[in-house]
């Protein structure tokens, strides 16, 4: 039978194409537009070439924000990934405890970001917040609105509370997919608990952990709402992570050119890290 040529089928692709264009390509191109030009409003643009990029890349302000951002992401990954695995390992495997734990774990994930920020803001207030007041009553000099260490501590605690569940749920799913025969085989061998974790559970969780680390990296690297509501980037610029700094520049100072250039650099960093990380993990995967 001869195949009939019918190009009308391309029309089926149109809705997706339009959707992607409107929600990704066109906004992104606007940003690209701003990144290479100077504007004074009234639709007057002047070509600036790579000036904004050079300016951002050598600016100390950008370096500081990037440094804070990297540090923050590293800290929360180092806390959340092991903690999430640890909790998943200790969750019940059968019985009524399973749904209870799963629901409890999902709770923080269901709360809107700005609500999380507001909750923690009130919770941590040194005079009336439960956490802030208790810490001060215990003799700690705690004030997250004035001391940058305390602000960091609170932001990290909030993020750990909000997002560790995601790692837990993914790890738990990974653990549940391990056939009981593996544990039996290890038991017959007389393997220790650590050996079971190291040589069975961890390798079997590798794929979900890759996803967990990727998601947590991206989310924490782009974090905005929660610290914005909690600390507003302060005190000073202590918790002004990349996106907070970006918004300050774009909307606060209306420096559209540099802000657009920074957006693109920011986007490029996230993309590169994800790509490199994913490829490294998957390269090992094929070697297994």
């Amino acid at each position: 039978m001869n195949k009939t040529v019918n190009q009308k089928a391309w029309f089926f692709v149109v809705p997706v194409f339009v959707l992607v264009a409107f929600n990704a390509i066109i906004p992104l191109m606007t940003v690209v537009n701003y990144a290479f030009q100077e504007t004074f409003g009234n639709n007057v643009f002047m070509w600036e070439g790579t000036r904004w990029f050079k300016q951002i890349l050598i600016s100390e302000r950008f370096h500081a924000a990037l440094g804070r951002q990297v540090l923050f992401t590293l800290i929360i990954l180092v806390i959340q990934i092991p903690l999430g695995i640890f909790i998943a390992l200790n969750m019940p495997k059968e019985g009524i405890g399973v749904p209870i734990c799963l629901v409890l774990m999902s709770m923080p994930l269901l709360i809107p970001w700005n609500v999380v920020g507001a909750m923690w803001n009130i919770f941590a207030l040194p005079d009336i917040g439960f956490l802030g007041h208790s810490l001060n009553a215990m003799g700690f000099d705690y004030n997250f609105t004035q001391q940058s260490g305390d602000a960091w501590f609170t932001t990290i605690l909030m993020d750990v509370w909000h997002w560790t569940s995601l790692v837990v749920l993914l790890s738990y799913a990974g653990l549940r997919s391990i056939q009981p025969a593996y544990y039996q085989a290890a038991e017959i061998d007389g393997a220790t608990r650590w050996a079971v974790f190291r040589h069975i559970e961890l390798p079997k969780m590798k794929k979900v952990l890759t996803i967990a680390i990727l998601l947590r990296f991206m989310d924490s690297f782009m974090i905005y709402t929660e610290p914005f509501v909690l600390t507003g980037g302060g005190p000073g610029n202590a918790t002004a992570f990349l996106s907070i700094d970006l918004v300050k520049m774009a909307l606060g100072q209306f420096d559209l050119g540099p802000a657009a250039a920074m957006s693109l650099i920011y986007f490029f960093i996230v993309l590169t890290v994800c790509w490199v990380f994913y490829n490294l993990m998957m390269k090992n995967e094929s070697q297994l």
């Binding site: 056939q179 085989a185 038991e187 017959i188 007389g190 393997a191 040589h199 079997k204 297994l288």
Partner: protein, 354 residues
Amino acid sequence: MSLELKGIEKKIGEETHIYTTDLKFEKNTINVLLGSTLAGKTTLMQLMAGLDKPTSGEIYFNDKNVTGVKVQKRNVSMVYQQFINYPNFTVYENIASPLKIIGIEKSEIDQRVGKVADLLKLTPMLSKKPMELSGGQQQRTALARALVKDSDLILLDEPLANLDFKLREELREELPKLFKDRDCIVVYATTEPSDALLIGGYTATLLEGKVIQHGKTLDVYNKPNNLDSAKVFSDPPMNIADISKKGETCSLLSDKVSWKTNLNLKDGNYKVGIRPHNITTYKEGNNSIEINGKVIISELSGSESMIHFNNGDLNWVSLSEGIHQKDVGENTKLFMNADEFLYFDSNNRLVGNV
């Protein structure tokens, strides 16, 4: 060396998984546990291994009570249906892992792993990881891990079930050789009667948590002591028909087929069990009986033809050598070999086989 289960029973909640069972396995034997899925094969093996405790009853190893002794303290190894290996270890490290845990010297580990790898044709793959191997090689690795330990008891829980046909045949032929000359008891669980026949040794037939017969494999096959045991040990399923016996003449209740027998049985109604390969398109044996049937379906597989046909109100299965094409609905003539019939009484006990 012997493994003895005395009055073993396993209940989980209200549900009985293994009904009171007595079994004794002798030194240097291969023992097949034959039964369909959920018959209790795996549960029974876990009890033997010490991975699970019986609700009641005792387990003796070398006449020593080992009930409740943990699996690590017994010298046991097990191979599963799924290919269970440490995913991030190489084949060598996988095979060596049980020895390392016991704390055996490096040079001896090298030597023993080399020997087992050679036996299982794994030598070229020693530095590979399990995921790089075919299913057959992965299962060979798991077998090697079980063999390298020189266990007293080796449990194989449907080790071939997840392999494709060709690999399965290949490994199945090697298995009995692997366990020859080994000072151990091998227990092999399977759903396939043909596995049991090929492996030989001893067979215990299981049905719904009960051991229904235990003995030499060929004895159990040739003289099933009841209908259930015969059914478990027959694939394709055994044909079972009601007959009546009067004097020397037996006849099917559902059709006018009859034959002579010199069985010393009272007159009355019996059941006859006929294995599919004893109903053929050609005459076989000295006591061949003709039976007519309407073909329901005929399946040709390689060198055999399986013909399902209808006679009376029964559906029969026949298995003949060679290719015999039959059309659906065709009336056909087949021959039963009456020398191979199994006769059961109304309580389904074997009363005669000639």
